[in-house]
Amino acid sequence: MELNDIDLVTLAKAARGSAAFETLVRRHNPALRAFLLRMTSDAALADDLAQEAFLKAYRGIEGFRGGSSFRSWLFAIAMREAQMARRKDAARLRLANASPGEDVAAPAEFSIDLQRALLTLSDEERAAALLCDAAGFSHAEAANAMAAPLGTVKTLVARAREKLRAAMSVEEDGNGAENGAACA
């Protein structure tokens, strides 16, 4: 039987160094790294931030009281780390935000367009859209992770969807025009 996150946290609190926290890392690292990669557009930075988030979660696991889901608590730590990294390295991130880097994963054919569209959003809009529409967080979980009021998160998600729709339709129109020109 697979233990849920709360059980694993309880076990990790009771016996440090047990396999419980490793199971939590194994369970949540793909989503956390995917989220951070889409937030930062930098695979190496995303992995560093994810690692730091897990280390901080491990050290501070006694502070997790179960008022929210473990993953929203973990993502909140990761978002704080990302904010700190952004402040420390604003110039480098501005460069990364200017265009998707080479190490930005593009697993599907629409991914580059989607990545460009995501970069048109503010950090808060991007985080809200990624958490709710990509990572499958509920609005309440996203609000916990973003330390923002529920209503704000709902507004951010709606605004992000609108902007993404607009950006993607512009991309499609642009591609269509380019294709048309090439054909002509």
Partner: protein
């Protein structure tokens, strides 16, 4: 395909890519390394504390012996004055208590 579906599909593909790589073992190695270091620091402090306590023990027993010469007649006190550590049950007990105290500190909530 809607924006939400595109985001979800992109995210799933990324998750699949990250599912089986060396990231987990790297993080776990960092965690255990930090734990080991903490254990060494706490253990080292415990050993130093016990050594300091042990160094004071013969002087303490000597002081008692000076105050009451009959105590020096006891086999325990004689061995302590000679600093025969292995033969001093009180010192062994003190070390055991130090170890128990250290181990308790390690598992106390919020200790790490």
């Amino acid at each position: 395909m809607t924006i939400e579906e595109m985001l979800a599909k992109d995210f799933s593909a990324l998750k699949a890519r990250f599912a089986d790589d060396a990231f987990v073992s790297r993080v776990i190695a960092k965690l255990t390394g930090a734990d080991r270091l903490r254990l060494i620091v706490v253990g080292g402090a415990g050993v130093i504390g016990a050594a300091i306590a042990a160094a004071q023990f013969p002087a303490l027993v000597s002081a008692f012996a000076d105050a009451a010469p009959a105590i020096a007649e006891l086999p325990l006190a004689e061995s302590a004055i000679a600093f025969d550590v292995s033969a001093a049950p009180l010192l062994a007990a003190a070390l055991l208590f130090a170890f128990v105290g250290g181990a308790t500190a390690l598992v106390l909530p919020g200790a790490r």
